[in-house]
């Protein structure tokens, strides 16, 4: 036991002291806050105001198009051709032409937007929304319906999602969290699994392995390496969390000084995936309502963070242990880094499938695909993490955890048998048939 500890210590210290580790520790949070900051800044940068010339021959829509920071509407009374040819000189991004038509129905298809470059979704949908609204109003008027009665009738359905404890939840938010957690696990398994593989390969090529295994058993060396690298990963993750939070709070307090609460909330929302959708959802439901953003706190409160973090650590460790054993076996089987490619593919396919399946799982977190992929140990670390924010029956979680543990015991057993033969084997062209022989080899 003592010897495994020595190996773990060595594996841990040599990697943690490396320059690349220290650089990544600081680079990681900087990158992440960079993403946050750039999302914010890009928003600011994009303040080029687009002027749109509106030629409304029906005169219904005058002053009905609302200006905002990015788009300003100018109402013109001129000839269409003239404006179009002069549009560039006059600095218009585009010209909106609403022709006079016989009736409103034919108007619906007759509106044209002329611009040199394709307009974005935001402009088109804004115009579309406004026109539809006005046409509807006109239709009601010509049908003889009073406008004030119209407003009274207008229904605004807003489905609030709540969990069984009657606390408000938010689907986009949970989606975002699930995806982020799944992605993080995917990345970590890849990065640290590869680290194990390279370590094993290094021992083979530098020929030190024979010296070491005259002092410790191959299994002790393999496990020492796997656990040591796991600790490196956890350390890196922990440092990132600490540094990111520090940087995050520092940045937000400096950037946010002087802004109203509403704007602050907007900023936070804009820079997180899922948050943006949550905001859009709020926008769509009621462009006027702003208090949805204030509910952010209570929504976040429904996410069971301790469970999420606990599960994350469990699935990261479980997934890592399962895959790093296989990576160790690959490193032991080959002689050089280039030879590892042929074996990397089959080992990483389940991971990739899991990541791709995550999209399906998000749409149907309680369906069959979600169940099976969150339970089979090769895909469960990623898929279960995506499921958890949506709520998973505890029987599923327990089953998944048990199978994952069984999974990594199994892969460790296989890896140990391959490792112990492979580390002293040089020059042999390794095929699956060869590996099978090694598996069955009794020492």
């Amino acid at each position: 036991m003592n010897k495994i500890l020595l190996v773990i210590q060595r594996e841990y210290l040599t990697r943690v002291k490396k320059k690349s580790f220290i650089v990544m520790t600081f680079l990681g949070p900087l990158l992440m806050s960079g993403i946050f900051v750039s999302a914010f800044l890009l928003d600011k940068v994009d303040t080029e105001v687009k002027k749109i010339g509106v030629i409304d021959n029906t005169h219904i829509f005058v002053n009905k198009f609302k200006d905002n920071e990015r788009v300003k509407f100018e109402y013109l009374n001129e000839d269409v051709e003239k404006v179009r040819s002069e549009s560039k000189n006059r600095g218009y991004f585009g010209v909106l032409v609403i022709p006079a038509t016989e009736n409103l129905s034919s108007l619906e298809k007759a509106v044209t937007f002329y611009s040199e470059s394709q307009p974005g979704f935001d402009i088109i949908s804004k115009i579309k929304f406004t026109i539809e609204k006005e046409i509807n109003t006109q239709k009601y008027i010509s049908a003889g319906i009073d406008e004030s009665k119209l407003l009274a009738i207008k229904t605004d359905v807003n489905i609030q999602t709540r969990d069984l404890e009657n606390k408000e939840t938010s689907t986009p938010l949970t989606t975002g969290l699930g995806f982020a957690a799944g992605l993080l696990i995917y990345l970590f398994i890849f990065i640290y699994g590869a680290m194990v593989m390279r370590g094993v390969l290094e021992e083979k090529t530098s020929r030190i392995v024979e010296v070491i295994i005259s002092s410790v058993k191959p299994f002790q060396l393999m496990m020492g390496k796997i656990v040591g690298v796991a600790l490196v990963g956890l350390t890196q993750f922990l440092l990132w969390v600490i540094l990111s939070s520090t940087v995050f709070f520092a940045l937000t307090s400096s950037l946010m000084s002087g802004k109203s609460d509403k704007e602050k909330a907007e900023m936070i929302m804009k820079s997180r995936p899922g948050m943006e959708e949550a905001m859009q959802q709020a926008d769509e439901d009621s462009p006027i309502k702003g208090d949805k953003m204030m509910k952010l706190d209570s929504i976040l409160g429904t996410i069971n963070f301790p469970l999420l973090i606990g599960m994350f650590i469990f699935y990261f460790l479980g997934g890592y242990l399962l895959y790093s054993a296989l990576f160790a076996a690959i490193g032991a089987a080959v002689d050089s880094e280039t030879d590892t490619q042929q074996f990397m593919l089959p080992v990483t396919i389940p991971l990739i499938i899991a990541y791709v399946a995550a999209a399906t799982v998000i749409n149907n977190p309680q369906g069959n695909v979600a169940f099976w992929f969150s339970v089979i140990p090769f895909t469960s670390p990623i898929v279960m993490m995506v499921r958890i924010p949506f709520g998973v029956p505890w029987e599923h979680i327990v089953l998944s955890m048990v199978l994952l543990i069984a999974g990594f015991i199994f892969t460790t057993w296989i890896a140990a048998r391959i490792y112990r033969v492979g580390i002293l084997m040089y020059g042999k062209k390794v095929t699956y048939k060869e590996l099978w022989k090694w598996l069955r080899f009794q020492n």
């Binding site: 010897k3 020595l6 040599t14 290094e202 530098s206 030190i208 024979e210 010296v211 002092s215 410790v216």
Partner: protein
């Protein structure tokens, strides 16, 4: 007392039989040469002794006990294909390897200091192994092998990579260790080091032991009773003086003296030979031609293969 008893050990690798009923006894406090052509089975045997692999049949006793895990702490092993972690610092690495052999940190540091001073390589402590030349790395590796003062050392081709001066250094270290009580198993192709260092040898070929015993006894066994005689005098006189009981193998005449190779047959002694020759020629020198280990190796292996 035999520190290691290898009893009827066999080992197969897939289709290839690496060791076949190998039995050897290694006495304590000696330097034991493990010799043999490439592919003979030496490395397989060494890996079984160091418990890297296990025999298919047979057993090994270390100090009378069946080989077990704690024995690795009492053994030092320098493999033929050897190396160190390239990116790790010399001192840190030596410490790591020492602690894997059960040494305490304090003890290891003390002994490392001693050896580094002895080999005059204190300056390399903080250097990364990849910054060292091959010979320097070999020195470091040698130290890591003997640091924990094992009772039993196995060295597979320890002299490769060393220039003559450093090879001499290592040779003297080995002799010093032997005098302090270490048993050393030396596997090598360099027969001159066998001549200089070994007390006992075993020759392995094709999974079998084909020669085994003390160097003295083996030399005696392969004694050919050949003598080289330097003399000044007449050729005819010389050959006539040697009549029955001697066979003239070779005679070379040079300006100043002649050299003859003579085989002594029967129960005659050197004194007999001298008394026959002295009246006829002036003897400058006489010496028994003792077969070198190199010759014995070649002779025995070719005999075994026929």
């Amino acid at each position: 007392m035999n520190i290691l008893e290898i009893e009827n050990v066999s080992k197969n690798y897939a289709a290839h039989r690496a060791l076949d009923g190998v039995t050897l006894h290694i006495p304590s406090h000696c330097v034991f040469g493990l010799l043999g052509p490439n592919g003979a089975g030496k490395t397989s045997l060494i890996r079984i002794i160091t418990q890297i692999t296990a025999p298919d049949s047979g057993r090994i006793l270390f100090k009378g006990q069946p080989l077990s895990t704690e024995h690795v702490l009492q053994m030092g092993y320098l493999p033929e294909e050897r190396g160190l972690y390239k990116k790790m610092e010399v001192g840190e690495q030596a410490l790591y390897l020492a602690r894997l052999k059960g040494m305490s940190r304090a003890d290891a540091m003390k002994k490392l200091k001693f050896w580094f001073e002895k080999f005059e390589i204190q300056a390399w402590w903080k250097k990364k192994v990849e910054e060292l030349s091959k010979g320097m790395a070999q020195k470091v590796q040698f130290i890591t092998t003997v640091l924990h003062e094992p009772e039993f050392l196995i060295l597979d081709e320890p002299f490769t990579g060393f220039d003559p001066i450093n090879a001499e250094l290592v040779k003297n270290e080995l002799l010093e260790l032997k005098n302090k009580g270490t048993t050393i198993v030396l596997s090598t192709h360099r027969m001159e080091s066998v001549e200089e260092l070994c007390n006992n040898i075993a020759l392995i070929d094709n999974a079998h032991v084909i020669l085994n015993g003390s160097v003295k006894d083996i030399r005696k066994q392969f004694r050919s009773h050949m003598f080289e005689i330097n003399y000044v005098g007449n050729r005819i006189g010389f050959t006539n003086a040697l009549w029955t009981g001697f066979e003239l193998i070779d005679l070379k005449e040079e300006e100043e003296q002649s050299t003859a190779k003579v085989k002594m047959l029967g129960n005659l002694t050197v004194n007999d030979m001298l008394s026959l020759l002295m009246p006829h020629v002036q003897i400058i020198g006489l010496q028994e031609i003792v077969p070198s280990m190199n010759d014995i190796f070649i002779k025995q292996v070719s005999e075994n293969r026929n």
